[in-house]
Amino acid sequence: MEPVRPIFYNIHEHYHWAEYTQYVLGGLVAVLFVWGLWQHVRRWRLGKPETIALACKERLAGFLRYALFQGRLASDRYALAMHLAIFFGMAFLFLGTALATIDLDVTHLMFGFQFLRGNFYLAFKLVLDIFALALIAGLALAFWRRYVLKPERLKNLVYPTFPLDSFYLLAILLAIAVTGLVVEALRLAASQPAWAGWSIAGNTLAKAFRPMNADTLRTLHFLFWCLHGLLAFVFIALVPHSKAFHLVSSSLSIWLRHLGPTGALPAAEAAGVAKLSDFTWRQLVQFDACTWCGRCQDQCPAHASGQPLSPKNVVLQLNAQLLGKRGGELVSAPELWACTTCRACEEVCPVFIEQPRAIVDMRRHLVSEGQIEKGLQEALTKLGRYGNSFGQSDRARAKWTQGLPFKIKDARKEAVEYLWFVGDYASYDPRLQPVTRATANVFQQAGVDFGILYEAERNSGNDVRRVGEEGLFEMLREKNMQAFQKAQFQKLMTTDPHSLHALKNEYDNLNVIHHTELLDELFRSGKLKPARRLETTVTYHDPCYLGRYNGIYDAPRRVLAALGVKLVEMPRHRHRSYCCGAGGGRVWMEDTGEIKERPAESRVREAAALGVGTLVVACPKDLVMFQDAIKTAGLEGKLAVKDLMELVEEALKPAA
């Protein structure tokens, strides 16, 4: 006898009414699901328009990698295995049910044949049983993690749906899986077909039921079939009202992820976001997509240092508002101001939520209402007036050049190959001016044809934008663009990662490189040769705006290698680099809340723990933040922080 899928085994014969009821309920559930889905869509549509390319190869590739194959969980093996098992378990079982429905209600009912027969059917049974076991295993891992390992990041302060949702989701899926297997086992125990062995799980379980008599088996089968059906229907109907909705919203969020320069903020209204409908529809989809995993919170330097910010909490508060579970203020001001815009949260988010963008949007509203603390207000006033946050005359911007043995070309007056955009901190901070001079020396020695804008340069506006002063950002950008247009140069180069990001990604199509890329090229082409090898062991801190924002990780490392330096990586390196805490305007603000350990101190301790003597940086703010942190952490004498340029300058000195 050829293997073939039994049609409504037991139900058709003995409980025919249930067969019809199932279809009726199924129809009802489908309607409820669609209605629930529509509630979400309706809420997303409250958002402002956002024009993006909706379909393209990149989106498809991203979807496959990140949605289907959980790409962002790759570094968390436990979670990866767990979620792949649950996801594919459910997917295959759902597919199996769909095939069974088509087999019955389409091919059999309408065309008189079944395709779930023969070897195909046997394979079908085997595969489904394997995935059912995988699903159960995955759920077991999930229960273990949530209720035994209890990682901090899984805790919620806010529940956009309802407090027991996480438990509910795991429990109902487990119940569906187990009842499904029991139904199969009971059927196999009763009917005992020759091919029962292909259902490896069900058949094993069936052995326990074989002693029962046929009537008992049929009754039990019916009961478990009802239970399984009801559980599945309840689950589906409740999807739009529980965390399970992430099936839809997370997929959508991943599909709609930001393409284009990483972390680049779009032009926005200066008034910022005061209510949910001020966000764009895509942002609202993102808030709805959060799976409460808390990885963003784990990465957040503000959170780790004891400040009131948790990116997870920000998103959940917004999600709760979206779902009507919360009213009033979107997110409190202390939370918003604590952010350094380091992007560690965005980088790790499995569903591609853009937390920094939402925070900046809400900050713009605070700024437009004048709700900013004094230190920040002073910095913005100085930036608006003098084009730098130090409150010094714009005419003093190039004072650092005094003391150089040569005159740097003025790109406003003569043509240069590289226009070096120096940046505020490198120009005005007395602790950094020696490094800036060292940089100029190196360029000169390397024969680079470079010039600066002297007094015409202004703060690039990167941090001004991220603080929420969009109008001031636009003004600074205008002034800098005017200066660029009047100057004569071929390429823009900057030593400041914050400026790099703004100039490259948020100005008007400028071609900008970071000085480490230039150095890398010079070393590789042989135009620059170290006069000696620096036989030191160092560690390197990836600046947020160079690494996570602009993907430049290797050029600085190749430069270090070219210098003969031995590099030992800190545990948190490359895209997991730990912010120094100065970004997002934080360097202009006071600390709020109970500070456990400032981010910069945590970082220098991490470096010191490696036993290296030197922490190398490639960003001016990192240099001063770490210098201060070394003092307050009591590591003077144990760890020194140096700019990459200082090492290059040293290596270029003729061997003694």
Binding site: K374, P430, E590, D591, D628, K631
Partner: protein
């Protein structure tokens, strides 16, 4: 008379202020140059006139309310009647209003912020501090009478000398549109900084309230107290009772150690008579280095911990 030099005597809480006595010294010099007498104008009870012996004459008018309006009206009336060449008014919160108002009523100049005065070719020429102390102007009054707002500290205080000659004068004061209600005392701070021998002063350079700790430790090691310049008090990091300067306290400690204070004139006014002034500032060009006796051009965050430690070591050992 065209060569009289007047000094507006200001009284504070029933006493002639020190600045008034300084102005008498300057006034005497000026009177010597113009050839006229030096007169003090006391708008209060004549019993307060005792310290004004350095003046040739004290014009005393009682029953003048302590409001700028009343003082100005009385002063302007006297000036109109008697036409002195110059009236020296203390350039203080207390008297500048009255001086400015009187000058307006007389259509006379009120020369601001004078640190010195001399007679030159029949005109009084003032040396004025302008642009926050960055520049100085030599300003001549082209008409007489003219009023001059003179900064505290221009001269040493004049000794009381013999009992002054008091001439009682009558002034009619218009109906008051400004009435004095009461004084608002600063919250009694735990500490009276004017009595301390050692003061550690903090300015904007301290950057954050948390960093006050550094100053507190240093002050404790030295057996002194912490005080501050106006910006620090405005931020709320220290109470009003700790403010040193034009609107705050005037102090004369044995040691005044300044951390991150640039030396704006309003602050300097309150501490320039300290015996030993030490300034720590990262800006080598800060005006404070022209006022201080000793200076360290470095970051206070580097120097202060080291300093505190060493002081403790010395004291601990001693």
């Amino acid at each position: 008379m065209a060569s009289n030099i007047w000094v507006l005597a200001e009284t504070w809480r029933g006493q002639i202020t020190e600045t008034t006595l300084e102005l008498l010294t300057l006034g005497r010099e000026l009177a010597g140059q113009t050839g006229g007498p030096l007169e003090a104008v006391l708008l209060g009870d004549k019993s307060l006139a005792a310290p004004l012996g350095a003046a040739d004459n004290v014009l005393c008018a009682a029953n003048v309310a302590p409001t700028p309006e009343a003082v100005a009206a009385a002063l302007a009336q006297l000036v109109r009647e008697r036409q002195p060449q110059a009236v020296l008014v203390p350039w203080t919160n207390l008297s500048m209003d009255a001086g400015a108002l009187a000058a307006a009523q007389l259509n006379a100049p009120f020369v601001n912020g004078c640190k010195d005065l001399k007679s030159d070719g029949g005109m009084i020429v003032a040396q004025c501090v302008v642009y926050g102390g960055k520049l100085e102007a030599a300003v001549a009054a082209t008409t007489a009478p003219a009023l001059f707002g003179v900064l505290p500290g221009s001269r040493p205080a004049a000794a009381a000398g013999n009992a002054p000659t008091v001439t009682e004068v009558a002034v009619s004061v218009p109906e008051a549109r400004v009435k004095f209600n009461r004084y608002l005392e600063p919250e009694t701070g735990d500490v009276d900084i004017t009595q301390k021998e050692v003061l550690v002063a903090v300015g904007r350079g301290i950057q954050q309230q948390d960093n006050l700790e550094l100053a507190e430790s240093l002050a404790a090691a030295l057996g002194g107290a912490v005080c501050g310049s106006r910006p620090v008090i405005d931020q709320g990091w220290l109470p009003l009772s700790r403010q040193v300067g034009k609107s705050g306290m005037s102090v004369k400690p044995k040691l005044y150690l300044m951390l991150g204070i640039s030396g704006a004139p309003e602050h300097v006014e309150g501490m320039k008579n300290a015996q030993l002034i030490v300034a720590i500032n990262t800006d080598a060009n800060a005006p404070i280095f022209n006022v201080a006796h000793l200076g360290i051009n470095a970051d206070l965050f580097d120097v202060v911990p080291a300093l505190t430690e060493k002081i403790r070591a010395v004291k601990g050992g001693a």
